[in-house]
């Protein structure tokens, strides 16, 4: 294997791994958008809040990681319940833009709440996930691959597979899709909106927790964690706001795309391609295929 090709492979693999992480964040958006038509501005902050809680209960109460995880999951479910009680319930039948504004407010509340409860200093998140380069890949293929990224990819794949089954095969999944399509009709067949909303926000909260732990292990738990939500936006535009596979494929395309562009295009334009590549790609996509790769085409009957 030539050195150039090996280097190209390393770039692609590291792009794929980053893409999986983007996909994880995008997944949280898709879930809530699918089931309630709300674009949840607070999704990024939910990742931060979840990771903060996870680290916080470890620090403050000295819980081991395996106990902190269910505790954090519990907090996210409680949060979902509170959001439904205090926010969503009062905004039934409002325009999506109103609900969107509500989630902006929610983002700030969560940010403040996280700081208040756990402090605003940068926290180290170490749950013993393997760090550094994989020796196996280095010895056998002479490729540099981060262990943490491999673990993240595996966990994300499991999560995605579980969610796909949940949405397609179960009664609750079908009810979630029903609520996404038409509130009144869903009520008329006996689906309780309140229950569905708590479920879907809980699931999105758990996805945010996983994403938060992964990103936190990589770069510490700090405010900038909530900004990864911005990277999830182009992923969503690429994959379609309503598609779980779309979030994955979109994440991978953007992850690989920006790494490859950075390495091979960077030198010619003075670098930092990684920062804008995703958005340019999304922009181009909006012009050609606004519903995304897998999104539902919007049909308006006139």
């Amino acid at each position: 294997m030539s050195v150039e090709f090996g280097f190209f492979l390393e770039t692609v693999i590291s792009g794929l791994m980053a893409g999986v992480m983007y996909a994880l964040v995008a997944l949280g958006f898709v879930l809530i958008f699918k089931a309630s038509g709300i674009f949840n501005f607070a999704q990024g902050v939910m990742c931060l809040f979840a990771a903060l809680t996870f680290v916080g209960v470890q620090e403050k109460f000295g819980l081991p990681a395996w106990l902190a995880l269910p505790a954090a999951v519990g907090v996210m479910i409680l949060l979902a319940w509170l959001i439904e009680r205090l926010v969503l319930r009062h905004l039934v039948n409002q325009d999506p833009i109103i609900l969107f504004m509500a989630t902006i407010g929610l983002a700030y509340v969560l940010e403040g709440l996280g700081d208040l409860m756990w402090g605003s200093d940068v926290k180290l998140l170490d749950i013993g996930l393997p760090q550094g380069a994989s020796d196996y890949m280095l010895d056998n293929f002479n490729l540099y691959v981060e262990k943490l990224e491999v673990v993240a990819a595996v966990i994300a794949s499991i999560l995605v597979a579980a969610l796909a089954v949940f949405f397609q095969k179960t009664r609750v999944g079908r009810a979630l899709r029903a609520v996404a399509d038409d509130h009144q009709a869903a009520l008329s067949v006996g689906i309780s909106l309140n229950t569905i909303w708590v479920i879907v926000w809980s699931v999105a909260g758990i996805v945010a927790l996983v994403a938060g732990i992964m990103w936190g292990s990589k770069s510490g738990v700090q405010f900038s964690l909530s900004l990864i939500a911005l990277k999830a936006l182009p992923v969503l535009i690429l994959g379609g706001f309503t598609s779980i596979p779309g979030a994955i494929v979109g994440g991978l395309i953007i992850g690989v795309g920006e790494k490859v562009a950075e390495v091979y295009m960077g030198p010619f334009v003075g670098g930092a391609v990684e920062n804008w590549f995703a958005y340019m790609l999304a922009l181009a996509f909006l012009l050609v295929r606004p519903q995304g790769l897998f999104g539902e085409k919007i049909i308006e009957r006139v």
Partner: protein
């Protein structure tokens, strides 16, 4: 006032049935009754002091000019709206304030004036949502799609296929409903309601926007549903020909008040009804 007597008759009839077994064929059993129901939104009165009942097994039409409060009435019955005054009797018992999904659980299904389907899903999935309340297997089995869950899913599929056959929508089984023509969408909506195997089926203008042939099909389905499954039906309809053909009894609303109640022929002859509704062209 004679109506009031009817309700209490029916009530005592139901209570005595509990002791003596099946109802005698002549005395109609009460499915639902509303008594002195009033509903307002802010200062606007949508329904004023309306009372009527629906017998078990009948087709009951609710008619009236636009804005008479017909849809509001259906929304009260299935729990979308909560009247400020009045009592609702459901199968002989006073019904407490109910949320729509609880009303659905108690056996009330409905369709909507402007078709309300799950547009992203196929016809089959839409109809399957109607079975949701009857699915009991636990979450774990559903996820792995084996064992009890698979068996249950198959049982429900069989029932759903029966309804799909009955309404003659086999050919669109796997099509996303958002892309279907309007007439077929209305039929899918009826299928979803029937999948719930309701005691009471509420149809809000089931034939609006249909051509003659589609109307005839829909009329046939409604009558067959009533006869084959014994489903009690309350429907709102503007086409007077259809109403007179289909319904056993008709209640007429105007400006949120009841102005007529009885068999079609009787209502048609009622001068007040003619003035308010039949004589007015839309």
């Amino acid at each position: 006032m004679t109506f009031q007597a009817n309700v209490s008759d029916a009530m005592s009839d139901v209570t005595s049935n509990a002791a003596t077994g099946p109802a005698p064929a002549k005395e109609p059993e009460m499915m639902l009754a509303v008594e002195h129901v009033s509903l307002s939104f802010g200062g606007v009165k949508a329904i004023t002091d309306i009372s009527f009942d629906i017998h078990k097994g009948e087709i009951r039409a609710i008619i009236g000019p636009n804005g008479a409060g017909k849809t509001s009435m259906l929304n009260v019955i299935n729990g979308f709206y909560h009247p400020q005054e009045g009592t609702i009797y459901w199968q002989g018992k006073v019904r407490r304030r109910m949320k729509p999904h609880e009303a659905a659980k108690s056996g009330i299904a409905r369709t909507f004036q402007n078709v309300a389907l799950f547009k992203g899903m196929s016809t089959l999935d839409n109809v399957m949502t109607g079975r949701g309340l009857r699915m009991k297997s636990n979450f774990f089995w559903q996820c792995i799609h084996k064992g009890p869950a698979l068996r249950e899913e198959n049982e429900h599929r069989a029932k759903v296929e029966e309804i799909i056959d009955f309404l003659e929508i086999q050919h669109i089984r796997n099509k996303p409903v958002g892309k279907l023509p309007y007439g077929l969408q209305k039929r899918v909506e009826l299928a979803r309601a029937l999948a719930m195997e309701p005691d009471l089926l509420l149809l809000d203008e089931p034939m609006a926007g249909m051509n003659l042939e589609e109307k005839e099909d829909m009329s046939r389905f409604i009558i067959e549903t009533n006869q084959r499954y014994g489903t009690t039906i309350a429907l709102i309809e503007h086409d007077m020909g259809v109403v007179m053909d289909l319904s056993d009894r008709v209640v007429v609303l105007d400006y949120g008040k009841k102005i007529g109640d009885g068999p079609p022929a009787e209502v048609q002859a009622n001068q007040e009804v003619i003035d308010a509704y039949l004589g007015v062209s839309h």
